[in-house]
Symmetry: C2
Subunit: 321 residues, 2 copies
């Protein structure tokens, strides 16, 4: 069995090669540049761990892991265009460096190359893997569209926000684990529980993400706190606050969403605290974490094999950065 | 055997259904809208014809044809964003109607759905088909990047332009025929000749396209003549003129590329005529057409089976609209 750290180190080493042709350089240098920015490689490692839960890691799991990481980076390149983000991991985004058109194409071609990696695996489960991968890919697009729709809406219900997070963030984690499990020969029942583990973990992960952006230690998180608040982003905290605030608080909060004064972040945070959004978020995270662990528990393999997944789950939801 | 017209009618009827989920409607209505704009459906029919060249049309050929048409429309949606085109087939482009971000996502998800259609075919040739499809998909992206690169260059050689057209236009026609042939059980030699038929036909088709934009009958073509000239687009005609014009003509032509006076189109056309670019283009088209027919001739099937392909080839390069 391997820990997340071990698998991440091996994957990162192997992934750190060009996945694209040389020419036209004007296109593929954008792809190489973006992949060179790095990342935590959580999703591909989830695929490897899903595989190792049931068997020794198969060569095919590395191909699928590579496809997953390429897919994830394709979504990031396109998301950065949509958000007109200037920076990604502290460096220039692709569309800022090479222009929107090249960034658009670089993303497109990265998705195609992801499918080329999938196409290298055994025919015995190729169809099944492509089906899971494509379903998740569609759902990620749907989640991104919902996220953009929400930006224009004043009130978003917690249920709708949960649905969006599930699509935009969770299903890819879940599908990564699931595809690894298929390669490991897992049966349908085990696959379903592993998928549910990933989906619930993904939501807990996003709650923590939203929490850290508001209440994290800026030195540990490595960025200024309140980025989501400044951008009026819908988050678990904002949605809960809007749903539970009294009339005066709600009025102030809505007014704050329309201004950009210096004390905006502090004032929004105060309302969050007054509505107990911080404690509520911690509890919500715990609920989804518990659901995730329940499904992991239900998987019929020796519990020692589950240890690496428990460790990464603990890390993802307890991290303070 | 079926004619292009017959296959096009059947394909269009079958294709005219929604290929996407209902929700989120804010995303998928963009996909449905764009597919509703219609089109000649040349590429999917090429796949069906490539299949019927060797056998009765197999159900899998319809799935692959659908994937090809979805892929083609994905490229059109994204191309329209890159060109910031307002109209497609006389109606609003997706990004003009629904915004660039939704258009970007609508294209992305259309590519994923194309792979979902591919994934429905027999496992016996799934890997082969995905490999051909993905190779063509990458090449189309590469061709689009080259096309954008050329826009910023003053001088583009005929060879480089040919390479770009091959990637952007020809390989998808060729791959469509090739995938149909694989489903029809064709051997490697026959597949290679059919692919070469498609590639050469694609170039002849583009020469005709460039020719019609400059010298076509506006009533027949259905649009104002000289669109490419107004946009300073690299075309076979412009490249030939720049390569063969005398110093005075070249100087005038380059000056015209930097202005937008009312008589621009007429003056550029006059230089084209003075350089015999019109006759040269007709001959170039004939050369590629002959190469295409040579490869069709080399395919080892009864010549009666080739008749529909000869008819569509004739139409594509002789059309005056």
């Amino acid at each position: 069995m391997h820990s997340f750290k071990e698998l991440s180190a091996i994957f990162t080493r192997d992934f750190n090669t060009s996945h694209f042709p040389k020419e036209p350089q004007s296109l593929y240098r954008a792809n190489d540049y973006f992949l060179g920015l790095g990342g935590k490689r959580i999703r591909p490692v989830m695929c490897l761990m899903g595989n190792e839960l049931f068997d020794e890691i198969h060569a095919d799991a590395w191909q699928v892991a590579t496809a997953i990481e390429l897919f994830h980076n394709f979504t990031l390149i396109h998301d950065d265009i949509m958000d007109d983000a200037a920076l990604r991991r502290g460096l220039e985004t692709v569309h800022h460096k090479y222009g929107s058109n090249t960034a658009l194409l670089a993303g497109d071609v990265m998705l195609v190359v992801a499918y080329e990696y999938l196409n290298k695996i055994s025919s015995s489960y190729l169809k099944h893997i492509i089906a899971i991968f494509s379903k998740a890919a569609k759902e990620v697009c749907e989640g991104q569209q919902m996220d953009m729709d929400f930006e224009k809406m004043e009130d978003v219900s917690l249920n709708d926000y949960l649905k969006m997070i599930e699509l935009k963030t969770s299903v890819l984690l879940a599908a990564s684990l699931h595809m690894g499990a298929i390669i490991g020969g897992a049966g349908e029942g085990n696959c379903n529980h592993l998928y549910a583990f990933g989906k619930n973990l993904g939501i807990a992960f996003q709650v923590q993400d939203d929490y850290l952006d508001a209440f994290g230690d800026p030195e540990k998180v490595g960025k200024i706190i309140g980025g989501d608040i400044k951008q009026n982003k819908k988050t678990f905290l904002l949605i809960h606050a809007l749903e539970t605030a009294n009339d005066a608080q709600k009025k102030e909060l809505k007014a704050l969403l329309h201004e950009n004064n210096e004390d905006k972040v502090q004032r929004v945070l105060q309302i969050f605290r007054d509505c107990n959004a911080d404690d509520w978020a911690k509890e919500l995270k715990q609920q989804y974490y518990n659901k995730a662990l329940y499904h992991l528990d239900e998987i019929a393999v020796l519990s020692a094999r589950k240890q690496p997944l428990i460790e990464i789950a603990d890390f993802l939801i307890q991290r303070d950065y």
